[in-house]
């Protein structure tokens, strides 16, 4: 099970990911395109608990496993490759840190499923000295930690249906 929280602070917005099982997908998915964590702007990240594998994909290519990481761990992202990540520990917590500006929020809007009203709330000067949870939701998406194959949608094929050429 994966829990997302989006929090706005004085100068930053924070994306908190908590996972309570192994093999759970960690990354955000663009709600319009279905693409995963393209990181439209630079972002610092910190893994506070647990461990994970990290994958990259370019265009329509395959997912390539590039790192195995374990907390505590500082990281940094920027780029056009799709980035995926899967928990490999039963408990995982990481946080992405982004400067809070209109342009950055606009670029992250589809990945975080933000509404215009939420962005307005986050940029409201009266919220400047507040710790405001914009939303929180929980979902389950089980992934293979070695291949990044989506295990929740994998369908079984009976042996009798396999044709050997």
């Amino acid at each position: 099970m994966r829990k997302f929280k989006l929090i706005t602070t004085q100068d930053h917005f924070l994306v908190l990911v908590e996972v309570q099982n192994e093999n759970q997908e960690i990354t955000c998915i663009d709600v319009d395109t279905g693409l995963r964590g393209l990181y439209p702007t630079e972002a610092a990240g910190f893994i506070a608990e647990g461990s994970a594998t990290v994958f990259l994909k370019f265009g329509s290519g395959d997912w390539n496993k590039i790192n195995e990481v374990a907390a505590p761990c500082m990281t940094f992202f920027s780029g056009a490759a799709e980035l995926g990540s899967v928990s490999t520990s039963s408990s995982y917590r990481a946080i992405g840190i982004h400067p809070k500006t209109q342009s950055i929020l606009d670029q992250w809007k589809p990945f975080l499923g933000l509404t215009d009203d939420q962005i307005t709330t986050m940029l409201d000067p009266t919220m400047r000295e507040s710790f405001v949870e914009i939303y929180s939701y929980t979902m389950v998406r089980e992934m293979d930690p070695d291949t990044f194959e989506d295990l929740t949608t994998t369908s079984l094929v009976l042996d009798s249906e396999i044709v050997y050429l």
Partner: protein, 148 residues
């Protein structure tokens, strides 16, 4: 010893602070604006009060940040590198670098051109002990850039 890592880009500067139980981190600098810390793991004592993750606390202007870990703990310090006044207070100009603000603003690691980060995550291993974080410590990390 308690450890810190610094991440920055032209807009943001984040200090990751990793402590074992009993460790203390003491920032040897202050700024005249409020900033915030995020306790993301464990329990810490800050300003005479105890806080458990997940918590966000304000650091008041001109206040030395001193945090003691009650358990193994991590917290993040959130600063803006596009605030020239803040950067100059934390990283005052010196003979070798006339403006750390300009350095950060213009810094582009080689891997920016690759289309994806080739900087591996920097996993932290540290032993117990206290740490005083000076401006010079941060200047050293800024100048090292993202060469983790």
């Amino acid at each position: 010893m308690a450890e810190i890592k610094l991440a920055y880009d032209p807009k943001s500067m984040v200090i990751a602070n990793v402590l074992h139980a009993g460790d203390k981190i003491d920032y040897a600098w202050t700024i005249d604006e409020m900033y915030q810390i995020v306790i993301i793991k464990g329990s810490v004592v800050f300003g005479g009060s105890s806080y458990d993750a997940l918590a966000i606390k304000d650091v008041q202007p001109n206040t030395n940040l001193v945090v003691t870990a009650s358990t193994d703990a991590s917290f993040l310090t959130l600063l803006r590198s596009d605030n020239e006044s803040v950067v100059n207070q934390i990283l005052p100009p010196d003979a070798s670098v006339p403006s750390y603000y300009d350095f950060i603003k213009d810094y582009r690691p080689d891997w920016y051109d690759n289309g994806f980060p080739d900087v591996p995550p920097d996993c932290i291993e540290g032993s117990s002990g206290n740490l005083t974080l000076t401006s010079q410590d941060l200047k050293t990390m800024v100048m090292e850039g993202w060469t983790l």
